[in-house]
Each structure stands twice: as structure tokens, then as C-alpha cells.
């Protein structure tokens, strides 16, 4: 317990005077840490490999990507509204110089970014499924080659 408290003390910088009884506060944290159920996967361990090579995508990943795409589709952007510039001078300037540019940047870019995001999730879903399919084919071929090598009869895998 003491080593855990020391560990917490080294990690946490408590401002002076914020906690009346710092030792009690740190002990409570150490106790809570010890009593919490373990997590699977362990988040701290996952951080060590974050962004590294990922395991083979499977149907879970595909479901997740599709879920995000559906979530985006379910919440469309607000309708396009052009905000007028204040004053007569501003209105004239708007009419002369900015409308096309502003229109593109405000609306078309936003829509395009959204479409791109939806497309990205869908592509990932399809990629995940395709990769899974390729892996299944590779394993099937491997099983067949092993069966041939061992001389054991093939069986129905349908």
C-alpha cells in the first residue's frame, strides 16, 4: 500500500492547501485503485500499443464502422442559410465579391467533409469485410493443403 501511495504522490501534483488532509486523500485513492475490478483490455496497456499494427479486422469492426456511418446519416446538417453582412456597404460587398466563395466554404465544404466521413466509414466497413473474406479463403486453402499433405479425407465444410 505504501509503495502505491508513493507512486500516486509522485504522479499527482496537489496545489498547496487545496486538500486539507492530503495523506488521507491519497490513501483513499490508493484503496480505491486496489479495489476496482480489472478491465479487459487494460486501458494502460492499450495505450502502450496505441496506433500500432492492428489485428485483422473482423465483423465487429465492420459493424462499428457501419454504426458510425448510420449515426452521421441520421443527423443531417441544418439547412443552408446565408448570413447577410451588416449594413448597406457590407451587402454591396457581399454581392460583388464574396457570395460564391462564402457559399463554397460554408456549405459545400461542410457537406463534402460530411460525405467524405460517411464514405470513409463505409469504405472501412467494406474493407474489413473483404479482408476477413480473404483471410477465410487463405485459411481454407491452408486447411486443404494440410489435409492433402496428411492424406486424411476431406469433409464437408459448407
Amino acid at each position: 500500500m505504501l509503495s502505491v501511495i508513493d507512486d500516486i504522490r509522485r504522479t499527482v501534483r496537489l496545489p498547496e492547501g487545496l486538500i486539507a488532509d492530503e495523506d488521507r486523500f491519497l490513501t483513499r485513492i490508493a484503496t480505491n485503485l486496489g479495489e476496482r475490478p480489472p478491465l479487459d483490455p487494460d486501458p494502460a496497456a492499450l495505450l502502450q500499443t496505441f496506433g500500432g499494427p492492428e489485428p485483422r479486422p473482423g465483423t465487429d469492426d465492420a459493424t462499428y464502422y457501419l454504426m458510425w456511418a448510420q449515426r452521421l446519416l441520421a443527423h443531417p446538417l441544418p439547412s443552408n442559410r446565408q448570413v447577410p453582412a451588416p449594413g448597406l456597404h457590407g451587402m454591396l460587398l457581399d454581392r460583388l465579391r464574396r457570395p460564391l466563395h462564402a457559399l463554397i466554404r460554408y456549405y459545400v465544404d461542410a457537406q463534402a467533409a460530411r460525405q467524405e466521413e460517411i464514405a470513409t466509414w463505409l469504405v472501412r466497413a467494406v474493407t474489413a469485410l473483404a479482408t476477413a473474406e480473404i483471410e477465410i479463403e487463405r485459411l481454407r486453402a491452408r486447411v486443404e493443403s494440410l489435409e492433402r499433405a496428411s492424406g486424411s479425407p476431406s469433409h464437408d465444410r459448407t
Partner: protein, 370 residues
Amino acid sequence: MSVTETTLHWRRLKSALGRGRLVQLISDLSAGDAVSDDAISWQRLLSRVGVDAPIYGRTIVPGHGARAWPLHRLRLESSDVLILHYSVWSEAAALVASMRRPTVLAYHNVTPPEFFAQFEPAMVAETSRGRAALPSLADLCPLAIARSEFSARDLHAAGFVDVRTLPIVLPDEAMADRGERVASPATLLYAGRVAPHKRVEDLLAILAYCRRARTDVTLAVVGAFDAASEYYRALHRCAFRLGVHTGVRFAGKVSRARFVAEYRSARIFVTMSEHEGFGVPLLEALRVDLPIVARAAGAIPEIVGDAGILLEGRRPDIAAEIILEILADSSLQQRMIERGKVRAAFYSADEVLPCLASLLTDGIEATRRR
């Protein structure tokens, strides 16, 4: 500082500038970005005292409400003084280097390239060049304004002689009260770009640890992200693996009104960012009375001071326990909020503006002496 003294500072600035303008150069202007908001804020503050401070950048994204133009439309008079807002190598920086004209540098810090190596290789070149070019800018900039002591150390190391520190001014109206606060029971807020050096993955781990004790804890991530980036994708996969994907919300870049609403509906501001040149979101959290739990990295400790709880290293489990303690203890929350109010006052416009006027005056005089 008294009103009279402040007025004297502004008068001295106008007198030093004469008929010239303070021309602000920036890589790109886009409202909501910390560097852009700073340039816009300077423009508004200076316009109140009759000083023209136009902004020029490679791209000017509409919706900022500032006086800004693309860089190719820049026409300089001999009486103009240049201010280069610097956070990355850009066309604006290249222009200053090619003109060899004395310039005041406003240094917002350049994120070290190693943070981008894994996920955003394109940024490695830009940030590497941004850091490598600092010594050459030292020759051109007789005065440099660092936005934190942390950033000032970069400038000293690069050979800048006259380095002053001035915090970012957050306009009083920026986080203005817009109705009654409706804080959700346990929403954690992170505001800022979704980028590798911000370590958003650590927040996901913290959320996972929090939710083993309290399932009502959620996380709102408010800030621009690139949906197609590998980093964003990795975050989603991480959230899914940890089983917290239903508890985290990536709000993206939002309107100012919604931005304030996100702050006002949260209970604790959390950041595990590993590099901050200043950390405007921390200042915003102080302004809206949010307790802060943050990593002790970059400029964060000097901005937060004794108003928040800081953490060394990457220990999401301990961070989660600290957060759970704060959520469960309203008296601790109140003490942190009270300290936050005092800290926020330290960065109020009243405190910072006279220093801004004084520094810019010194900058004008220094560039003219060259």
C-alpha cells in the same frame, strides 16, 4: 494598473507608430484556431484605440468577422510595422525572411515534429522547418513576444536576444454567460484540436477507468478533427476496444455559442496534452468555473497555477480516481472553482492589455531602430 496609466500606454503606442499600421502576418486565418483568434483579438483591441492592425495570411477562411486579406494583396508602406504570428513555417514566414524587414515575432510555439511522426507524416516537415527556421528569424526580429515562459525558452535557445512574455488575451465576451448553467452529472470536457500531441487516447483510457466506478461518466471532445486521419481512426478503434464508444462524443469544430454551451454543461475540464504553447482552453475553463485536471506538460502548469490538479506522466488510472474524487466532492469542486476565479483574473484583459500596449510600443521602436 490605473485607467490613466493604461491610457498613457496606448498613447505612447500610437505616438511610436505614427501614421503607420501594425500589419499582422499569419499562416492561415480561421476563427476558432488559437493563433487566428489571437490575431483577431489584437486587431479588435487595437482598433478601439484607433490603431489599424490588418491581418494577412495564405488562406482566409470566411466567418471570422475581422479585417483580413490573402497574403498576395499585402502592400506595405515604409511606416508600417510587421508582426509575424508564428506557430509553423508558412508563406507569411517565408515572406518576412525574403523581405529582410525587421519584424516583431509573436511566438505561439511550434509543436515538436516527433509528435506527428506516427500519424501525420506531412506535418513532420512543416514543424521541423518551423523549428529549424527559428534561429534565422532571430536575426530579423529585434523583439519577440512569447505567449508563455515555456515558449520563451525555445526563443532563448534559438538565439533571440529580447524575449518578452505576454499571455494570450481572452476577450471578456468570449465565454460570456448565456443562460442558466445546466451541468450534466458527470460530463468530462476536453476542448482543442484532435491531434496526436493532445493525447486524446489517454482521455479514452481515463474514461474507461472512470466508468468501472461510475457508468454515468461521459466525455465530450470539442475541437476540429480530420475524419479521414489515421489518428482519428485509431481513437475510434481504441474507444471501441475499451467499450467506451457510447460514452464519448466527438463534437468537432462548433459555433461559439455551442462551444460555450459545451463548457457550461460539463463538470470537469480534462486534458492530457503533452505539448501546449499556451493552452487557451484551460483559460476558457477557468473563466466558466470548471475544475481542471491536466497533465503537467508544456505551458500547462504556468497557466493553471494552483487552480487545478496536475499529473506527471501517463497514469490514466490515477487520473480517473482524482476525477472521481472531484465529482463526488462538491466542496472540493467549489474550492477549485474559487481558485480558478483568482487565476482567471490574472489573465483578464485589464491585466494583460497595458502589457500588450507597452510590448508593442517597444517592438515598434526596436524595429524602427534597425
